[in-house]
């Protein structure tokens, strides 16, 4: 069991997650285009989904969301839900293609990030918090989505590495 844990995606995911959460807490609270905080952790969860499929995307979102909640002080599990869904949706988008080009992965990452960020106020509403559905969401979600898309050329390979998924080289696949 221990071996499977070490050989699984968790250690790499936690390692990268720690670095990204640290950057999120320092650099990205100041780089705020249109007064919106870019969600790099969510971007990685979505990128992992776009690189490795819905199941691994959901797992990445769950783990990264938990790390995010622990540091940000938000209700533990709320970001796991939103990021998990973001990763899942990004991975589910993969079903339309076998081998997505970089620009397609970018779109999938953007979709996942948009869904994840949209889910944040939804989850918060479910746990009794009010006042999160404001017109500002119409600024926040597009900015977070575009930022995730811009980061995706970097984050999709990173997500693939974290989830221990190898990119299939279709030129070397032999016909049955």
């Amino acid at each position: 069991m221990f071996a499977s844990l070490v050989q699984g995606p968790l250690p790499r995911l936690v390692l990268v997650g720690i670095m990204l959460v640290a950057l999120q807490e320092t650099l990205f609270i100041d780089l705020r285009p249109a007064a919106v905080t870019i969600q790099v952790v969510l971007a990685l969860a979505a990128a992992a989904g776009a690189a490795a499929g819905p199941q691994k995307g959901a797992l990445a979102g769950f783990v990264l969301g938990m790390m995010y909640d622990l540091r940000a002080g938000s209700p533990l599990g709320s970001s796991s839900l939103s990021m998990g869904l973001g990763g899942f949706v990004a991975g589910y988008s993969l079903s339309i293609t076998v081998d997505p080009q970089w620009w397609l992965a970018m779109i999938f990452t953007g979709i996942g990030a948009a869904v994840g960020e949209t889910m944040v106020p939804v989850v918060r509403s479910f746990i009794g918090e009010e006042g999160h559905f404001t017109p500002r969401l119409f600024t926040v979600i597009p900015v977070v989505t575009v930022a995730a898309m811009i980061l995706s050329p970097l984050f999709v390979p990173l997500g693939r590495w974290c989830m221990r998924v190898k990119k299939v080289d279709w030129t070397k696949v032999k016909a049955p």
């Binding site: 640290a22 100041d30 952790v41 199941q55 622990l70 002080g73 938000s74 926040v140």
Partner: protein
Amino acid sequence: MSLYTPGRRRAILLLLLSSLLILTIDLRGNALLDGIRSGYNQAMRPFESAAEVVARPVRNAWRGITRYDDLEAENQRLREQIQAMQANDIVARASIAQYYELLAYFELESPGSYDRVVAYVVGQTPSNLDQVIEINKGTNDGIREGMAVISPNGVVGKVTDASSDRSRVMLITDTRYAVQVKVVRPEPVTTTTTTTTTLPGATPASVLDTTTSTTVATVPGATTTVAPTTTLPDPQRETGELAGRGPGESPEVIFVADTPGFGLPEVGDIVSTSGGSLSLAPADLPIGRVVEVRQGSPAQGLIVVVEPYANLDDLEFVQVILYTPERESGTNTTSTQPD
């Protein structure tokens, strides 16, 4: 490749249920999860310090690009403010001295009579919904959950989480923030050119008599002060609950009590904490001024929009007021309760 095999569905369902379970446990309050959170935050410190080193040049470059015009405008505005404040300084000093004399005479408490801890803002939440900052002082300095946090201009928020050397402060604009407040009507009092000599041994009672008509400058010696028109708060007031409305939105006072003697709150009225035996914030901490009054739904009643005095977008130093009401001593409060 099948996306919906039973195994995959089970795994995703498991993650979903795990999130919900953890969320439920955390919301109900759990010492184990609090311990894990505290330990994780400690473990993250070195990584954040390293990230800070990497981030600083990038951040400075970004600020240089995006905030140059703002800084120039702010610089100009601050120069103008300094000139205006210098004009009021003498009168203000005199009024403060007189205020403390009166407080001492009547043995009343004031916000200034509580110990405070000055803290440096070291971070803020990365969330786009929450309005939370982190300061570099914690329980080692006497800070407890619920304590009011102020800046030189007014109330900033309250402590919602305190570890040994760090605390989280929920700003008054956060949607979860609530505090009991009073809306006070300032009435303009025209002051005249006054010449006041404070004689050694003069009783505060005699000072009290003079305040009914003029603002008195208690500068030792024969001092002539040309004072501008100023305002004094009227004792009549409305009470209500101040609630945050999220980033970029001004807080609102809701559940405004209907006091016929006061009339409707008006633009320009002063909003400050109302205090009380259960409140974690002492009375009379200034919060802001009324900028809009509107009628809500019948259930909501009157809604008073408040512009905070404190500049919440650019906080560097804050003060935590080490105030704990007697009935709350030794107990913790949840962050969602009005204080």
